[in-house]
Amino acid sequence: MTLQTMLLVAAALFSVGLYGAISQQVVVMVMMGLELMLNGVILAAAAFWWFLSPTPDGQVLLLVVITAMTVEMAMGFAVATLLHRSRQSDMTDMATDLSR
């Protein structure tokens, strides 16, 4: 277990998540992709923390990443519920008019 191997695993998790976030059509599946990307970020942050600078600051950063994840989930669920109720749809392609 070295810094490089941990970062490689983190990069793999991040890329798989990115694939999901770009390719999935269902809002909830896009959120799963985002979650997987943040999973990679957590692992990378832990690797940097342990192998480069094991100070409390790094732990606080990880805590913030985990908080960002909860906020993302809560808002994602709320928006998905709203979309579903108003349009009977959960596909991102059917919500493209929201970007206009």
Binding site: Q4, L8, S15, L63, V71, M75, A78
Partner: protein, 184 residues
């Protein structure tokens, strides 16, 4: 040595279940595959002595995925029987972007001359985290708490179809419901 083996087993589990999220045909399986990926990463955090954050990751993500499973099934209307599904758009470009990202990140991880470790971890990491949160990094936590509170309020406002007046009546005393009238 043992740490290395455990790390590689967990790493393979984390990535394999991560891939499974987008490969399996069942919403329940996809959700719990993601939960397994998070649990594997949480256990890797235990290997680098991040006990609090590792266990917190396991706790939060299991909870989150249990709730996520409900949303997945609610919105996708799938029955428990396995149904083939392939709801993707732009599969090829997405795959290309993902592989490109991995190559760049992996090259960075392997080629950058990382500096050597500075400083040593505190003897009691949990206490040091607690002190950081309550002393030098208190501003971070003071920002995080209103953000979380605002999230709760905003999410409820977005998601709830009815307000408390609908549930409890105009005087908010719930007399309508107690009188046996159906909630509006």
């Amino acid at each position: 040595m043992l740490t290395g083996i455990v790390f590689w087993v967990l790493a393979v589990i984390a990535v394999a279940t991560g891939v499974a999220v987008f490969r399996v045909d069942s919403m329940a399986r996809a959700t719990y595959a993601l939960a397994a990926s998070f649990i594997a990463v949480g256990l890797v955090l235990l290997l680098v002595d991040l006990e609090f954050l590792g266990v917190i990751t396991v706790l939060m993500m299991t909870m989150e995925m249990a709730v996520m499973g409900i949303y997945m099934i609610m919105f996708m209307g799938m029955n428990p029987a396995l149904m083939p599904m392939d709801m993707v758009h732009g599969k090829r470009p997405a795959l290309a972007v993902a592989i490109g990202t991995f190559v760049v990140l992996a090259a960075g991880a392997l080629l950058i001359p990382w500096p050597t470790r500075r400083g040593a971890p505190a003897a009691d990491l949990v206490t040091s985290l607690g002190e950081a949160v309550m002393e030098s990094k208190m501003l971070v936590m003071m920002t995080v708490s209103p953000v979380l509170f605002a999230t709760i309020v905003a999410a409820l406002v977005l998601a709830l179809p009815k307000g408390r007046y609908d549930r409890l009546g105009d005087d908010l005393r719930g007399t309508d419901m107690r009188a046996g009238k159906a909630p509006r």
